[in-house]
Symmetry: C2
Subunit: 240 residues, 2 copies
């Protein structure tokens, strides 16, 4: 059975303006690969209602799972919860379970659960909450879309809350053979190798080191015995 597919939707003007460098995509990619879920696409869109709704719908239809990051805070530019509700045509408002979490948290810390903070309790009808052990304000899952925060520490905590609830597949493992040869030199034998080992994913990634060109050859697949056998064969091809 093929592994489940996933997409990520990153929401935030600050990424697209170059002000902030996204850190969540790389983190999620590694976590999903380890869980045997294939991340097939990532989209980054601005804090724009039309763009968020369109992307959420498209990615939800095309993938088994969708993960979003960003736009669920208390300020006027945090519109993700409302957009995801709109994408699924469901009602959204402050919900009692989310409000209770926030009330207990702010009571304990002596802060007021003001109108702005209450925005973080806006949860679409039918959604289940995602636990946030870092800063309490929950994420949520609606349909196959998991809505999470943009702050990396909170995003990572929410991923840890969600991932164990999902059905994954056999983790994709990799074997890497670094060569201090340019891609143009390794391409022909690598193509022949990839045809012979067509059950594996065979990639080549160029790099520069001390001014010289090198290539990482990467084999990926789910069967470690097969991967080790292929790596041995690959070393023979390149006489290393």
């Amino acid at each position: 059975m093929p592994n489940p597919t996933a997409a990520m939707l990153v929401i935030g003007d600050e990424i697209l303006s170059g002000r902030t460098r996204d850190a969540n995509m790389h983190y999620l990619a590694g976590q999903l690969t380890a869980a045997g879920i294939n991340l097939c696409e990532v989209r980054v869109v601005s804090d724009d209602r039309t763009a968020i709704i369109a992307a959420a719908r498209a990615l939800s239809v095309a993938n088994d799972y969708v993960f979003t990051s960003g736009g669920i805070g208390p300020t006027h530019d945090d519109i993700t919860a409302d957009c995801i509700a709109a994408a699924f045509d469901v009602h959204v408002d402050v919900r009692d379970d989310a409000r209770a979490l926030l009330q207990a948290h702010y009571d304990a810390s002596g802060k007021e659960l003001n109108e702005a903070r209450l925005r973080m309790a806006r949860i679409p009808d039918g959604a289940t909450l995602i636990d946030n052990p870092v800063s309490i304000a929950p994420g949520f899952t609606l349909g196959n879309v998991h809505v999470m925060a943009g702050v990396p520490s909170v995003f990572q905590a929410m991923v840890a809350s969600v991932l164990p609830t999902l059905v994954g597949g056999a983790p994709v493992q990799s074997r890497t053979l670094p060569l201090m040869r340019g891609e143009g030199d390794v391409a022909a034998p690598l193509t022949a190798f990839a045809q012979e080992y067509s059950d594996l994913s065979v990639g080549s990634y160029p790099f520069q080191k001390d001014g010289a060109y090198g290539t990482n050859l990467v084999l990926r697949g789910q069967d470690t015995v097969r991967l080790d056998e292929a790596l041995g064969a690959l070393k023979k091809v390149f006489s290393v």
Copy 2:
């Protein structure tokens, strides 16, 4: 006149598997912002023909400019040139001008322009070449799509080749006011401020420092006089 819009298409399994952390998105975002071009969307797709063609077409139609990174090397998994040609329904083959560049380069370095390296001279009909001072193999522009390499040093060199040829707008500038207060505390006055300064983009970005919550308030716009005036007003709102 509003600034031109742009999208980026990142092509590469290695990003989606978590093996490599993309560096080109953040770089391009900063360069486009400085050039007065609004980056509206980024998509990351795998080395998959159908996915690349669909994304290239969608982004080309929706934006003034599209920039791609990745998949133009010499190996079997480098399929971007062929996919972009297919997206625009034009023919693609080894082209004499690109071949001449590579031939001169490999002659000078004593290497063979073999069949694999010749793949890097596959340029769609009607495309113009993008200069690559780092490693010679050119990128190309077809329609409004600028096709560039994935290796960051080469990507950056190609961006430097392309950007001066594009029509930009007034650069978007920003002013940042860092506050050691949580977003929930600043949200209400910030919303009122954003309504008063609706000609500017007003964002808030939470951070943690030494265990305490802080918020960066960011004003963005093209008129620096207006920005400085707004920053002064914002400082008064928050008594700093």
